[in-house]
């Protein structure tokens, strides 16, 4: 048990909140009440043991309601990992599925998983275009990871992007352009159109202060900076695609293995070898 002095100095409430201890204790009691017929007098301790062990192993989110699955970062990461483990064979076969089909798979693990979230994830892969297109398992999973784990962050990013795009920031440059194929998110300004996307460094400044201000999970600011440092300008979905493909961000999240290993399924390989 390595020592991290900060956690010892925190006031009780903050320490508990950091690890969502009360969330899990409350949920444990609710689960106990829901299963009270099965639990006897001296089985209580064992019930709680199994509950907290299941939380540690990440199996606690299986078949639970969406509000619980998204309740803590650990829950979200566990859900991502469970989805990967359950359906990686889809990827192995090289099957391409539609957004609706991926949604069906998600609903197998979480019956009330909202369609809207799956749609948002698909939009990242498809760059907001032709939403009934087929997607590979790894493309979808990596985009879904970003969309689901960082939902709140992405909402704020979208708002910031809109602000910058519509010129609420005095530094935005507005020039006429002859580019065809207007991005769907661009407001209709008639003859004057805006350069595609927003300026990367300005965008990063706003994101940096966003990460400072908010308590919910953000991708590590240093890695976001990396993503934005390679380009001059970028679109919203261009940014999201870059986030989803960034290996370091996925590693920092810690739910899924590297892209190369996403199809790695030794148990299934063994079974197939036997046939």
């Amino acid at each position: 048990m390595m020592l991290s002095p900060e956690r010892l100095a925190l006031p009780d409430y903050e320490y508990l909140a950091q690890r969502h201890v009360l969330t899990y204790m409350e949920d444990a009691v609710c689960q106990l009440l829901e299963n009270k017929e099965d639990v006897s007098q001296y089985g209580i301790a064992r019930f709680f043991t199994e509950y907290f062990n299941s939380v540690c192993q990440g199996t606690h989110i299986l078949f639970r309601e969406f509000s619980f699955i998204q309740a803590t970062p650990h829950n979200r990461a566990s859900f991502l990992r469970a989805f990967w483990r359950c359906f990686r064979t889809v990827g192995k076969n090289g099957d391409l599925l539609t957004m609706k089909e991926y949604h069906c798979l998600l609903q197998l693990l979480c019956p009330d998983f909202p369609l809207e979230l799956t749609q948002k994830a698909a939009r990242i892969v498809l760059m907001d275009d032709a939403m009934d297109c087929l997607m590979s398992f790894s493309d979808f999973l990596l985009a879904f990871q970003i969309q689901f784990y960082y939902s709140e962050f992405l909402e704020s990013v979208a708002a910031i992007y809109q602000d910058l795009l519509s010129g609420k920031n005095p530094n935005t440059v507005i020039v006429p352009t002859s580019s065809s194929g207007q991005h769907r998110q661009r407001p209709n300004l008639g003859e004057v159109s805006i350069l595609e996307g927003v300026e990367a460094s300005l965008f990063y400044q706003r994101l940096e202060s966003l990460c400072d201000r908010h308590k919910y999970s953000c991708p590590p600011p240093a890695l976001v900076k990396e993503v934005l440092s390679n380009v001059q300008r970028l679109t919203f979905y261009g940014f999201l695609v870059a986030l989803s493909k960034h290996r370091g961000i996925s590693q920092a999240l810690g739910a899924l293995p590297d892209k190369a290993d996403l199809m790695h399924d030794p148990a299934m390989d063994e079974e197939l070898d036997r046939l």
């Binding site: 909140a17 201890v21 969330t23 001296y42 907290f52 540690c56």
Partner: protein
């Protein structure tokens, strides 16, 4: 139940601030009468409150895993059947006592002095309790077994910790007083952490292809470590040596390693086991023998 309610109500508005996307974990707004009775009858609230207090006292890095172990041990201490069948034999009782004591000792990190000392006291009482054929008090044999268990669970190689055990063990039938027990426990846990850090240090020196480290470099690191420990020989508490080791500045270490590399002669490798043994020996040399 009132406490559960209070906790739920207290957490809900605050949780909206922190888990901004979390409406309510359960569907129901409040537990019904029968559910409250159920929770009260089974002592659930009391149990959870005790667990929460333990979490706050120990402040573990992983509170959820801590809770899992906590309830697991609670389940073990509860008799499976009230008074039915033969009472468990001496050996089983002894193992249970050791297990329980070990669990208490691990609740708090050794640097959390008050919590650690409290837990040492509880562990001591647990081991000293008189049984059917056992006199009250802690005997040397049980103490030795406990030390060996701690070291084994701490994944320290036997050769590494053997010199320590030789120094601080008591004779089998000797009575072990609380202060000896406390010092012994502290020394043991500190040594385990020291060995852990030495292992991490070795990993930095290790050649990934050969899985061994250059002897001269390793010896340079050990010599620097010894020098730092010598400098703090005024301190008597084991933990001071740990702090001294961590103060091993990058400059002095880098200098030592540079010197070793400059004298470019073919060098034999030093294995991890040898490195750990030597590092541990530096620490153990400072430990006062018992008796």
């Amino acid at each position: 139940m009132a406490a559960v309610e209070k906790r739920r109500l207290a957490v809900a508005p605050a949780a909206n601030f922190i888990d901004s996307s979390r409406p309510s974990v359960s569907g129901a707004a409040a537990t019904t009468e029968s559910e409250e009775d159920f929770l009260q009858q089974l002592g659930v609230t009391k149990m959870l409150r005790a667990a929460l207090l333990k979490v706050l006292e120990a402040r573990p890095e992983e509170p959820i895993s801590f809770l899992a172990h906590y309830f697991e041990n609670m389940g073990l201490s509860t008799p499976a059947n009230s008074g039915a069948g033969e009472p468990p034999g001496q050996l089983l009782l002894q193992q249970q006592r050791l297990g329980r004591a070990l669990w208490h000792l691990r609740l708090a990190h050794h640097s959390q002095r008050t919590a650690f000392n409290n837990n040492v006291g509880v562990a001591y009482e647990c081991l000293s309790a008189s049984g059917r054929k056992k006199k009250p008090g802690l005997d040397g044999r049980t103490y030795s077994e406990l030390l060996k268990r701690i070291c084994r669970d701490g994944e320290a190689p036997e050769e590494v910790v053997a010199p320590l055990l030789r120094k601080i063990q008591c004779r089998d039938h000797e009575a072990v007083p609380l202060d000896v027990f406390r010092t012994g426990m502290l020394t043991c846990f500190v040594l385990l952490e020291f060995v852990g850090r030495a292992g991490a240090l070795y990993q930095l020196l290790e050649d990934p292809m050969l899985a061994v480290a250059d002897r001269r470099m390793s010896q340079a690191v050990l010599d620097t470590l010894e020098g730092v420990l010598q400098a703090s020989s005024g301190a008597s508490a084991p933990t001071h040596y740990l702090e001294a080791g961590s103060r091993l500045g990058p400059d002095s270490l880098a200098l030592a390693m540079d010197r070793a590399l400059v004298a470019r002669r073919p060098s034999s490798p030093m294995t991890r086991e040898e490195f750990l043994e030597k590092a541990a020996a530096l620490f153990i040399a400072k430990v006062k023998p018992v008796g």
